[in-house]
Symmetry: D3
């Protein structure tokens, strides 16, 4: 998968896809042989609003520079834009956070498991074999990871035998994604080993058992993590509190709004430091028109500075 150039930006939209003129795009075979198929065309249809290029597997490709900026985001800043746009179900929490001080940012690579059921799994494996694929295991998915990915796994909260990785595969995932990250509605094993590896991870539990009694049912299909429907290619941002899954079409707005919130907080704290004002005189909006104007000017100036700083890059 490494070295495959990203494909041109998908122009498809809802209208386009319905008149049948969506761009033909053929992904490699493997994702057709699980229980749930979600073809590259379907993936492109359902993420038609995303404004960026696509990865070779059809997922939206939030640009690297935006991912860089996203490292400064906090959950609250993301919430502000998402709730305004009516996306109230994009946040999941209740995880054990491996490295609480380290923000996680990356593109969602989704994997789904379901409880093992041999009659179904036998067929899926036969189909996979027939289509030239060796197996249907967690490694099948992990081997497809790309730089910048966050591995997002639905293991339905399973603890015993719900361990998506131990320290070896966690290390490999770190290498393959360039330190992207892991979110699993399930568990990990070998916490001692994992703790020493510098990649963010969010999991429900830890257990010494290996993964088992489950079957791989989907790769890069829509999955559910807690109360969130996660789409392949969503921008995943994790902080100390939890994890946001941002639809690609909202990433730019989130980042721009965050610039303003950073400046707002900067100015607010500076004012608080002066010790002359009560909180309600300054926050969230200054009550005094003069202060309000002062803030507007500060905001304008700082926004310009920030943009200037960024442009040379």
């Amino acid at each position: 998968m490494i070295g495959i150039a990203s494909i041109p930006r998908g122009k498809s939209s809802i209208q386009a896809l319905l008149c049948g003129c969506a761009i033909a795009f053929l992904a490699p075979g493997p994702i057709h042989a699980q229980l749930f198929t979600f073809s590259t065309q379907e993936l492109m249809d359902y993420t038609a609003q995303e404004p960026f290029d696509r990865l070779s597997d059809g997922r939206p490709k939030v640009p690297n520079d935006m991912m860089e900026r996203a490292r400064e985001l906090s959950s609250e800043e993301i919430w502000a834009v998402l709730q305004q746009r009516g996306f109230n179900n994009q946040y999941a929490d209740g995880f054990q956070v491996l490295h609480p001080g380290k923000t996680m940012v990356g593109r969602a690579f989704t994997v789904q498991f379901m409880p093992q059921r041999s009659d179904v799994d036998d067929i899926a494996r036969a189909k996979a074999k027939n289509s030239g694929r060796a197996g249907l295991t967690n490694q099948t998915a992990i081997d497809m990871l790309q730089p910048g990915d966050v591995l997002v796994v639905d293991l339905f909260g399973k603890k015993v035998n719900g361990t998506i990785v131990g320290d070896n595969l966690f290390y490999y995932t770190m290498k393959a994604t360039g330190g992207g990250g892991l979110v699993v509605d399930g568990s990990v094993r070998d916490l001692n080993g994992i703790s020493e590896i510098d990649m963010p991870a969010y999991f429900r539990a830890v257990d010494p058992t290996p993964i088992g009694n489950v079957m791989l049912t989907g790769i890069n299909i829509p999955i559910r993590i807690g109360g969130v429907t996660v789409m392949p290619g969503d921008l995943v941002v994790g902080d100390r509190e939890g994890v946001y899954f941002i639809p690609p079409q909202l990433v730019k707005e989130v980042l721009d709004r965050a610039d303003e919130i950073h400046i707002h907080d900067e100015w607010t704290k500076k004012k608080f430091d002066e010790g002359k004002y009560k909180s309600s005189e300054i926050y969230s909006t200054p009550t005094d028109p003069k202060l309000q104007q002062e803030y507007q000017e500060y905001l304008k100036r700082r926004l310009e500075e920030i943009r200037k700083q960024r442009s040379p890059k």
Copy 2:
């Protein structure tokens, strides 16, 4: 849907499906317009081992007389065969049981919801409209129910706005399925009204709010209920304890074994009533060879009686 004759028994097997010679079978359009598509062909492939006819929508059709016999089953009797065949994940519990004394038996009609996400749902709805379908709501699914069905719904444990039905739709479901039943990993509303309707139901919670903030993502696709992968057409059996989802190919064996267990318990209790034996002398297997023989003869005779009773039907 009413009145459509069931189609001939599917001969397909794993071998068959892999050489591409599976029977062509076209289901009506609607199930293609959700987020997850699971075509009739896929459904037939993945349930290729089932030995019965199929319903018009492609689901295996466990025969009515077997459903009748299944009303005598208890969870333990089902467990005995399933664990022996390696099916350890077919039981779900933790439900509120509406009518604890009433066994639920029927063919699984599965429905999946996921957390609402407007960018995805807009496309799904546009696709549905384009394919001539009005909407994608709980009623879309409920209107497709057939006699003998149990409605099995994944609402991911949602309580508030996770209410698949109130008393009106519960009543309709009872009418459409002939009192089949309901299993929802979610909630219902209007418990007072529902309590007066004579259909078994298993739910996680009760709430006064209507269903909302979710999107319908699949009808008659494989779904997860607790730790179970449920396939459309599974035989659903619910008692006071919980719900079993029996793969169709195991139904006959389960029923036959249950006959033996019923006779075994009959004989065991009769022996206990004599007051001459300790439990371990009788149960689970008599230790005395003479008693063992007595039991074998009893078993043989009673099995014959039972079969005779059934044949005239």
Copy 3:
């Protein structure tokens, strides 16, 4: 308290109370000697919107005939009006329900306890004694109950020593309220005895210990039960699911709307029984204009019948 006539309807409104012209009304002394005082004037100010008479202790008095009609209400019917009026926090559940088939209806008589703290309680008791009151116990409150009341108690979920009543005081409460009811965010004791008494009750737990290690901090003050702010005089309606606390000013609208919902369900079920329609063709609104008209006429006719039935009373 028995035999005291109810006082004339409070004309006060928000406007009135702010210009200081609220009706002077002096309640008897006792409710001033707890930790939290909520004078009759305050109670009347904060419930100024209620359109009915008041009880002698200043609580709004939802009329008896409306209470009678309220026995037909279900949680869903109440929800419909309350959410429309922006009252989203008036429902509490998670209780053990003593008599699930028996609807509870009555006027909220509220009592609050807090964890015992002798420095505070000593003063409260000294004050109570000084104002001529013997004690500050659960019986102090229970002795003030009136016919038609539901005793609503905040015992902050306490199980051990959080038992508001045993069977003796439960019996007394039944007698004093005329079978009104009990809601306690805490526990009861003597479940065997209580089970034989014909009054609805909602409690979190059961324990053999008597009430203790708490102090009575308020009678007929605003209290919190789960996620609900309960005001004295709210109409309390409990069914199998949970308990609604309806602000008096919304009672009539809830009851009238419920009439329509009852008729709607009557008609809907009748139509389902005809077996000619899918659920979505009938429910929640008929799609066919002719059916829609048929329904409207049915609704009109039945509403008239119901009103006629009621008027002679």
Copy 4:
């Protein structure tokens, strides 16, 4: 075990046992071959205060007529004496109650299981075999039950494979104990079957799996159920709320006190029915000296009546 006469009342006391003059008493071998041995002598030492005869296995034998009277007890009545005597840890709740309206009364027959560990269990089984015993299973214990026993089992809250009985052994237990009862800190299987058998039972959960992955570690040894240390021979009383384990030496006091409480409640309710008194004027003690005297006379008269009723028996 059946037909063995009960042995003479143990005269041993703390003093006696310490001078080494305790009565020699040999129980049958089997209870020495588990992990935990608790010899008949130890059992007699640790229950030296009990005033009754003993069963053949050394357990205190609360007399049958007292067991009969105990059927009228409620948890609260037991609590009154036990807390006064400093026994604050004899109550367990949080069970599923099989037949809520049916009081359970019997002598504790205790059984302990621990998580399976083959190195330990192999030795225990070898020892058991060497001492002439066939096995160490739940049936080993169940076969030792006597009329009037309640089977009390520590299965450490285990649900899956923690099912002490299914309907066959539940039926046998009912027969062997004369409908005594079952308390298990674990689960049962075959709830449908069990529900039809007329014996009280208290369990944590229900599961279709059979007992397994545990080892029997003690019969008639001290065990822990929730927050209670249960001794073999304790009087077990279960009602709708939970289960009390009453040390034999306190049984008579509990029963006598209960007589008074019954009469007290009888009188209190009668007075409430007169409608002339507030609850605090009557309950818990009448405030008026005349009423107080009336009550005392009532109590005396009724006590005499009750005793007279009992004596002919």
Copy 5:
């Protein structure tokens, strides 16, 4: 609020307050316009036993030097005095602790919220406006904080929309209280931002949503946090385990006892280090009279040293 001198020590006592001779003391208006009023006079009455000066808002003012000493306290040391004085309900735990290594010490500034209910809140806001106050929000309360305060908030465990502060108001609170602290039976938002601010905080959860769907119902009134009744002005001490709310009248005794416990532990560990004694020979009281004497002399000498160290300050 800064710079307002503290008022003279309240001489009132239970006796005083009951003869009506309590000191007249008028607090500023704002605290009268919430749902619950607790006048300065009431506050002074109910904290009449406190031996110190009072703050301008009437709360007891535990002196700064005692607050300094209290930084060395642990929960166990406080427990020792409080349980002896019969205060068994002054400890709350189950919080997320922001900076586990940093002890929190300050005077309780209490705030209460209840579930939103517009009929009640409209009146409260009208009253607030009428009495010249702008609003009734979390900032209304936060703007009243004084140096040395710990903000203690009852948000009834609410997570979503139960966030008392984000990083801006947390920063302001830190500034206003001089790093006092925060205890909230509810949540905070912006954990990343808050983590970098050097003030102790105890909260139940973290969420990205802002505060909402609640109404402010009291400032500096008695509130409940877990199983504790918190009075305004209580000395709040938080360590890694939980939070103690110490009535002011017990502060000195707690501190003096803690001195002894510190010395006791110092000596005990020194003895353990000698390696000559079993724990029971030294702890909690030396069994050897000579050691007992050695300890007593050590205690006396160290107490004198400590007091000498303190006096120059």
Copy 6:
């Protein structure tokens, strides 16, 4: 206890013990005076498979050098051997871990408490006194600890009054065991103090109350911690995830296998670092025979190096 030499290796085996030829071995009296006696002979019988010397109290003595090697173990490495040998119940988790980065290794010294029951405890204390022992408290057990021990305590999950140690006894335990460790299915107190002491500890909760309302019922008897049967002398290994209790007879195999796993992980990561392979080509077994051979050679060489490193010690 200090300075007592360890006794010669027990030759007893299952066969030996059953023909009555087990080595006579007399432990000191104290462990006979609790409710549960488990004589040194019994302890030796039930741990007859252990291949090492024994401690003076009869427990198996896993050698110090093996304990040293065990510091490198992780839960997963232990799991690999134990599940293969059929020991599936030797792992407990759900603890608060005091020093997450510090591995705990030591020999299990077990202690059991049960809920207080004065009739039983009085006898136990009388027996203890008669046999010359002062008391039956947590210190009775703690005073018996030896270097290399881990104190393992069953306090049945008790939080309030379930605190096995505060900082004084924790310090003593650290001294007595040489920093061995503590596992308690219960709580500790004085977390602030304990946090500064360099010994691993695993506990369920923290509380300011001292231990109470319990009775000591066994020292160095088999106990249950979560789902594990712990035998005295088990090798206890705790990491960030949880605690393993390894039967002594499996220690060597676990350690040897761990050497291989360490080398395997070393090699695997090295290969991943080359960036040429997908995870499934390397892990868990290389698919390419040449790589497989490379690995085998690496394994052999490294094992030799490791053993050489160890031998001089």
